[in-house]
């Protein structure tokens, strides 16, 4: 369980987050949605201790993120930031293998090798495993980064806009992979999404943010309503029902 209590964040005179309190139970896929600058990425990086906490408290499985040793946390949560811009010339298999670092500190054993192959398989990277990252397309690189986070083998996976750079086919594939990670591997996936219709289909729960506050929180059918969406995104949009899931016509 991730518990966020009264978290505020102020950077360079701008209020990024304002008194956010949120509880995310273990398991399932949670989507964070909201307009640019809503504070989604900041919240994610605070949970993942990439930024120091200013006020309030955050704990993951009872471990306070500001005082727990980073190494310990790396076995509980994995984070993939938006545009990690890894410039190192690594092969895909090597990159994914570094996901095992928190467990082994560099000494890869037979079990790790199995997990690395499993992650490559899971994200359809077997054909690319021996290619260098800088010879891949943006989408392929992105999948390799997600596979590395998956390979870290943590209960919690935090992903910041992982669908960036992905075409429709791979975006859908990645969302299915994340769903499978939650269903089959009992991972807790928390993902920042801009494509709200992916959230509608693949998330168990949607947290909508605006101007540093949580404005709606619940299953897709509750959050993806015209009145809530207008409040979050600032314009009116229609929502229709397709096979039991809401479809937001946000582009019209």
């Amino acid at each position: 369980m991730i518990e966020i209590n009264n978290v505020s964040l102020r950077l360079g005179g701008t209020q990024i987050l304002e008194d956010v309190s949120l509880t995310m139970p273990k398991g399932g896929v949670t989507a964070l949605v909201g307009p640019n600058g809503a504070g989604k990425s900041s919240l994610l990086s605070l949970i993942a201790r990439l930024q120091p906490l200013q006020t309030g408290s955050i704990s993951v499985d009872g471990l306070p993120v500001d005082t727990t040793p980073s190494r310990r946390l790396a076995k509980t949560l994995a984070i993939l930031r938006q545009d990690p811009a890894v410039a190192s010339r690594l092969k895909v298999r090597e990159l994914v293998g570094f996901g095992r670092f928190p467990h082994q500190r560099g000494r890869i054993d037979a079990n790790d090798l199995l997990l690395i192959e499993a992650a490559l398989q899971q994200f359809g990277l077997m054909d690319l495993a021996d290619r260098f990252l800088d010879n891949l397309s943006g989408g392929q690189r992105q999948r390799a980064m997600v596979a590395m986070a998956f390979c870290q083998g943590t209960d919690y996976m935090l992903l910041d806009e992982p669908l960036n750079n992905l075409d429709m086919l791979f975006a859908r594939q990645l969302m299915r992979d994340l769903r499978a990670a939650a269903d089959n591997d009992r991972r807790t996936v928390i993902v920042v999404l801009h494509d709200i219709n992916h959230a509608a289909v693949y998330a168990d729960r949607i947290v909508a943010m605006k101007s540093g506050r949580v404005v709606a929180d619940g299953p897709p059918a509750e959050v993806l309503r015209p009145d809530v969406l207008a409040q979050v995104f600032g314009y009116d949009m229609d929502v229709i029902d397709v096979g039991g899931a809401p479809l937001v016509l946000h582009h019209r």
Partner: protein, 320 residues
């Protein structure tokens, strides 16, 4: 990549071959067959030829590793310690020690140089991290200016104190003065290379940036501090014992990265060996070109290194 085994073979054989050649070259005739019978020949080998060759190998390996580590810390492939302030800060340190304690040993001078080099490199790193990442060439340019300013301060102080000819020794790297008893501190370079290899996985993760490092539970701050110490110590040893040698730290890590990638657990030994081969080759060229006189190895590297650097630059654009 099919080129790989060949490149490794070439580097390995090159190091071996050049090491042997280096032992054979000198003003005095030294037929290798005679070292077991002729005490004078053995003396020459042990006092001059071997120390010089070992010093070149250690320095080349060390400088290449220092360049690699600095490139990781700065997250820019176009920097190297000797031209971006570390070398000049080290020279400032030796100068200060020489002025304050004229009788200081070479070890004391190295210690002083390491401390100023550490401070100078830390300042460079702090400023480099504040420059906009969208303009990667700003960092090496800033480094050149920064190194130039510190270098100018060194020259000014040395001129005031009438120590200019010493500064010349520290700034122009060459190995003709290396004799037994005057190079042994360079073995610390071997220890630094070993240390870098020991933390190779951590360095590779650090090269992926602060956030990826933190996410994997790596103490990023600590690896940066360790890297800074490695860069400062290697550069200072090089400056104090043989003088500044440019380009090795710049060209070699780029070359190895092109051929083998950046997974340092496997690539780092090749960075060290390629550094040794490049410097040894340039030292031999410098000794042969106007035999029996010598051209400083730094000058030879200026020509060879800039050629290699251009090749790396243009190779890059072709691939992209």
């Amino acid at each position: 990549m099919a080129v790989l085994p060949n490149a490794r073979l070439l580097v390995g054989a090159g190091l071996f071959g050049l090491f042997a050649i280096s032992l054979c070259i000198g003003v005095d005739d030294l037929p290798m067959g005679s070292v077991f019978t002729d005490a004078g020949a053995l003396q020459l080998l042990l006092v001059s030829r071997l120390p010089r060759t070992v010093a070149v190998v250690l320095t080349g390996a060390g400088l290449a590793i220092a360049g690699l580590v600095l490139q990781i810390l700065v997250r820019n492939r176009f920097v190297e310690p000797i031209t971006t302030g570390t070398g000049q800060s080290a020279a400032l340190g030796v100068l200060a020690v020489t002025l304050l304690f004229p009788t200081a040993s070479i070890a004391m001078k190295t210690l002083g140089a390491s401390l100023t080099a550490l401070a100078g490199t830390s300042v460079f790193l702090t400023i480099a991290h504040r420059l906009p990442p969208t303009q990667p060439f700003l960092i090496p340019l800033f480094g050149l200016v920064y190194g130039g300013v510190i270098g100018a301060a060194v020259t000014f102080i040395a001129w005031q104190a009438d120590l200019l000819q010493y500064v010349d020794i520290w700034t122009n790297g060459e190995f003709s003065g290396v004799l037994r008893g005057r190079y042994e501190l360079l073995w610390i370079l071997a220890a630094m290379v070993a240390l870098a290899w020991w933390v190779a996985d951590r360095l590779t993760i650090a090269s992926m940036g602060r956030e990826v490092s933190l996410g994997l539970g790596l103490n990023y701050q600590r690896i940066v501090q360790l890297g800074l110490v490695m860069v400062a110590v290697i550069s200072s040893l090089a400056v104090v014992v043989v003088g500044m040698i440019p380009f090795v730290g710049l060209v070699v890590p780029n070359l190895v990265s092109r051929l083998m990638g950046d997974n340092l657990k496997s690539a780092l030994p090749w960075v060290a060996m390629t550094g040794a081969v490049l410097l040894l080759a340039c030292d031999i060229i410098g000794r042969l070109i106007r035999y029996p006189y010598e051209i400083p190895v730094g000058t030879v590297l200026g020509v060879v290194g800039s050629g290699l650097f251009l090749w790396i630059l243009f190779g890059r654009t072709q691939r992209a």
